[in-house]
Symmetry: C2
Subunit: 201 residues, 2 copies
Amino acid sequence: DILERPEGLELGGDLREVTIMMSDIRGFTTLSERLAPAQVVTMLNRYLGKMTDIILAHQGTIDEFIGDAILAVFGAPQKRDDDADRAVKCALAMQAAMEEINAENVADGLPAVATGIALNTGKVIAGNIGSERRSKYGFVGHPMNVTSRIEDLSAGGEILLSDSTFRKLSHRYPVCDTRELKVKGIDELVTVHRIEAATDG
Amino acid sequence: DILERPEGLELGGDLREVTIMMSDIRGFTTLSERLAPAQVVTMLNRYLGKMTDIILAHQGTIDEFIGDAILAVFGAPQKRDDDADRAVKCALAMQAAMEEINAENVADGLPAVATGIALNTGKVIAGNIGSERRSKYGFVGHPMNVTSRIEDLSAGGEILLSDSTFRKLSHRYPVCDTRELKVKGIDELVTVHRIEAATDG
């Protein structure tokens, strides 16, 4: 996978500002227990396939699939001025694609699903992480953990942005709701905004 | 990576009993903020390199590195009678290797670190998960989530086993401590045992 071995990468690791995206199908594990294994994999791969296409079309870097969760970043290995903007557009496109995914699920006798998406911007250490036998381009830092905590809060159909992402945007998306979040290892509360999936500018 | 594309794999996904291992360096993110990015990557790759060697030597399948966290399984793609036993031996060997890792860290002016390890046994759906553009051999199911919750509880130097793993072992490791754990999405409490890293049989 070329994304895992980008050219021109600092082997030693460097500090970069990135916009991190984490998403998760709500209740997927519980849902998966009512289905045959092959149905679960069909449903998961349909979803991950469409999400992969959308993330790559928005020049995001997919770091991991962890079960039904997706971890992606915008801004590494290549930084662009509109990293946060592209991340939000990507999240809106992902939510918009759920209708088509669910229509295909229902046509196959599978349940409709809903995904929650969290975005957060911050400085992380990016580098080739692992061993000689197995390494990948990966990320370390509190902003990763913060994103994961925001993602825990996101309901199906929602897009939650940290204030750090929100302040980077050139387009002002209407905010439906603002919450404050205590995150382990971080003293200050994290401010999180919810934007409407239907308000794509 | 051959581990991600094992031969003879059911493409559709199947239900398998596996012993899941998750480990994490305690406080690594906070520690990493006091170091230069290159030092963080050096320290992380030294640790992940040794852990990879130990896990592969015990015929574990590494699913992911997520920052400093490792997710591995014993029992897929190939099931063996001693999957749980090998997982515990592997965890003991991982904790034993920390002394050497920390001696090398200290020699390089880097801090000593401690890892927590969780083991849990259960039935998961295993399959090639992802898209045509990017897929990997991955796992879905409540036992994955339960392992993650047990891992959250494990302190540096500790090995915590769920009762489901403990009951599979042919060697009776002395238990130092037993706790009960409430896990989201699971009705029953999960019983967790701590075994001593120094009591390798």
